[in-house]
Subunit: 361 residues, 2 copies
């Protein structure tokens, strides 16, 4: 046991109050920890289940400092929390996974460069700071390609496709004229992801890879094991291990991959937090990604990531949630809802995990 | 789907703020419900994870009425909540499982008489209202026997053994001179329990029976399947079904049995709530007893009680919890702690579930 393992009833601070924070707070409570949520929105999903809540913007340094004074360790539930907020907390408490992975994950260019430095393959890419950079960038990436803002984009926001006949100026305007990268378009066979964790003691534990399906650029379903050959799942785990070790990371990391027809794996992006494609762990593994994250940030040994069932996770997006009554009646379907009041289009309202006996693959 | 199924974001009121209320509140949050805890003690385990808390004694009718005004349905987490408190709530909201099972479970004499009326076998028993009743009662039960208060006893409190040479007056004083029953001492082969649920629509779902081990009259371990022959588990489920139907019950019910050497089953007692011997469901079944209770009281269809793993639940009582760091490091051991500040002797501080692959029995 690391000497700095937090004892039960210690308080874990979480920056961010969305559904990931909510599920982290629940996992923390199961282990006997207290939680304190820092979030800018009232009645946020995580606040509903936490011991304490600070309602303030991430730029409020006094509120952050006061928050830090009430907690024993901090983590964050999304990668767009300002680095400056983490810096304030770090003066008082450990923040896990800390600022380095945040800096890497907040900037697609830095992320790609970091992955390249440690020998992890990605799509070809080039920096784009203006519409006039796009033509030269396309020499590096080939076309079609995708123009993506370096920061702030998620669920398909802040991206646009570039073809031979795309108007470069219009495309750059479409992404808000923000610093960007052009990324070669990958004709992948499948998308997959690995949820991996690293403890304070350096131990690493990866869950089985999930095969992901998107709908309107938002994750729709994760299948485990899906159609992923076991050796590909293992290879993805090896790459994810190299990444989490290079970041000297503590906590749960999501790594998204493109699998090419020949079997090669390119890393699409990394998320320094629990990840939507890891929600399946709640009902098909003995330890969920949320418990794993709490164990890691609390300095506890990691849980065994073994899977006991096959599973398909399906997101409930916007109006999907109105089918809660039918979903609740489906045998083998495990309903998870986030306590959000308004089912706006594109908003993640919940998810279900459909389990079945484990196959041998 | 029953027409009165509560939609997500409805509020479930829970009388009682202990660990059972805590785990119910967590299960409710997973399904997208809000919770409001009514409990007389500050910083109680359930309040730490609930949306709202009312801190008041169960005798405070104004507080109960105000509480009822904020919730959509109520339940209770222990059977010693005063019937009068439930009566106040019932004026405003459905209370599940309601007053009838409470009345039966609060009085050992009523409980035994009820079980006898529906043809369920129990230990022989007789009513004891004074020390002088004990001799006649012993004619019915034979000796040795156990003198138990009719109400208020739990974890071995309020009971004393009666042998041939026991002083009856001293024994009656030992249990507080309260209305009591004398119960024939059962030389059982094993103790087991069944956690069973009934929905608003009348559907019934029983989990596999657990074999229970006690230490100092407090549940120590529950083994599933333990040494229970499959036909005995099934028979226990059949008896539990008869009981839950006779009570016209909605919610989760715990039924404790003595298994005699020849295989016969006597019912020891029933608990109108989630039950300590059902904590194993959290890590070895797809639906926990806590989710099952929330589903039932919310008018949702019951979950499938199928078990995916073998499991041994072990309570962490008093100082046991100081071993949290070793337990956290055990592979296959799932730690659940209740957020209680003080580890007093005999106090339930948490539990662990140790899982292993499911055997075929």
């Amino acid at each position: 046991m690391p000497t700095d393992a937090l004892s039960p009833r210690s308080t874990i601070g979480i920056l961010g109050g969305g559904q990931l924070g909510r599920m982290l707070a629940i996992a923390a409570a199961e282990l006997g920890f207290r939680t304190h949520i820092f979030c800018p929105e009232e009645d946020c999903p995580a606040a509903q289940v936490a011991n304490d809540v600070t309602l303030a913007p991430y730029e409020d340094e006094a509120a952050l400092a006061a928050f830090a004074g009430t907690i024993d360790v901090a983590t964050y539930e999304f990668e767009n929390v300002p680095e400056s907020a983490v810096a304030v907390l770090e003066k008082t408490v450990p923040v896990r996974p800390g600022r380095k992975p945040l800096a890497v994950a907040q900037d697609r260019l830095e992320e790609k460069k970091f992955l390249g430095r440690i020998g992890v393959e990605t799509a070809p890419f080039a920096k784009v700071d203006s519409a006039t950079d796009i033509a030269a960038a396309a020499q590096t990436t080939a076309l079609p390609a995708v123009l993506k803002t370096r920061s702030g984009g998620y669920d398909g926001k802040g991206q646009t496709k570039i073809d031979q006949d795309t108007d470069h100026k219009a495309a750059f305007t479409a992404i808000g004229e923000a610093p960007a990268i052009l990324e070669g378009f990958i004709a992948f066979e499948r998308e997959l992801s690995v949820i991996i964790a690293r403890g304070v003691n350096g131990d690493v534990a990866a869950f089985d890879a999930a095969e992901n399906e998107h709908r309107d650029h938002i994750l729709w379903r994760s299948h485990v094991p899906g159609a992923i050959p076991p050796e590909q799942s293992e290879k993805a785990g090896t790459i994810a291990t190299a990444i989490i070790e290079a970041l000297d990371y503590v906590g749960v990391l999501g790594v998204e991959f493109f699998a090419l027809p020949g079997g090669a794996l390119l890393v699409n992006e990394i998320a320094p937090r629990v990840h939507n494609s890891g929600h399946w762990t709640q009902d098909a593994a003995y330890v969920s990604q949320f418990e794993q994250q709490i164990r890691a940030v609390a300095g506890w040994p990691l849980g065994d990531p073994v899977r006991h069932s096959d599973v398909v996770m399906e997101n409930l997006i916007g109006d999907d949630v109105s089918g809660w009554d039918l979903l609740a009646a489906e045998p083998g379907t495990h309903v998870h809802l986030y306590g959000k009041a308004e089912a706006r289009p594109g908003r993640k309202m919940g998810h279900v995990n459909r389990t079945s006996p484990k196959t041998n693959r």
